[in-house]
């Protein structure tokens, strides 16, 4: 079944640790996105990708990095987690065309102690 997956769903980790949030989609979409959302606040686009080997920074500056080696996979990495990185991270994908629907994953809730 076509879907978009995120793992882990919840992560509690100590300051200074390196973490990777996984996002995979079986939708056959070229474009993928990462959003960050603090509780009660707006979603902010932090990274997006047009396709393999393409990555761009979004509207909100983020210390995280992303890679797109395979079409279906778009992991996000924090080299050294800090409490300010505590947030919810949402992955999405789309065909990337005008008026095209974005499909969202279930999200990863990150807590950095």
């Amino acid at each position: 079944e076509a879907d978009i997956y995120q793992t882990p769903r919840y992560l509690v980790i100590g300051t200074g640790k390196k973490i990777t949030l996984e996002c995979s989609q079986t939708m056959g979409h070229d474009k993928m996105y990462w959003y960050q959302q603090d509780p009660g606040m707006e979603l902010h686009l932090i990274h997006y990708s047009y396709g393999v080997n393409s990555t761009e920074k979004g509207d909100l500056s983020s210390e995280s990095t992303v890679s797109r080696i395979r079409t279906e996979h778009f992991p996000l990495t924090l080299e050294s987690a800090r409490p300010s990185h505590t947030s919810q991270y949402l992955c999405a994908s789309s065909k990337g065309q005008v008026q095209e629907t974005q499909y969202f994953g279930p999200g990863t809730r990150l807590l950095v102690l």
Partner: protein, 112 residues
């Protein structure tokens, strides 16, 4: 600057009452607007797009260029309509691609 705003952070209505979730935009040209919804413990998902002029789950949204609005309406609220609603706009991001810009959203609470 091109902006889309949802002035209400929280909207509470009684079951059976009409619902109107406000979305205002402040830029020229033809905006490309959507309504996305997130029910409790579910994913964010598309509800409506203005270009489709469709009705989903009893909701409609009409682009009003005179008032620069794209309000979401439903004549009779149901308890299952309780959710977070977002009105993002579509913006060109280069290389033939577009991306959505979300606001803070409006939490709709339908009181039984």
């Amino acid at each position: 600057a091109q902006r889309v705003t949802q002035p209400e952070k929280l909207l509470s209505v009684f079951k059976g009452a009409p619902v109107e979730l406000k979305c205002n935009y402040s830029y020229s040209g033809s905006p490309e607007l959507f309504w996305y919804v997130q029910y409790s413990r579910q994913r964010l998902q598309l509800l409506l797009r203005h270009i489709s002029r469709e009705s989903i789950k009893g909701f409609t949204a009409d682009l009003n260029k005179g008032e620069t609005s794209f309000h979401l309406k439903k004549p009779f609220a149901q308890e299952e309509d309780s959710a977070m609603y977002y009105c993002p706009r579509n913006a060109y991001s280069g290389a033939g691609s577009y991306q959505l810009t979300f606001g803070k959203g409006t939490k709709l609470s339908v009181i039984p």
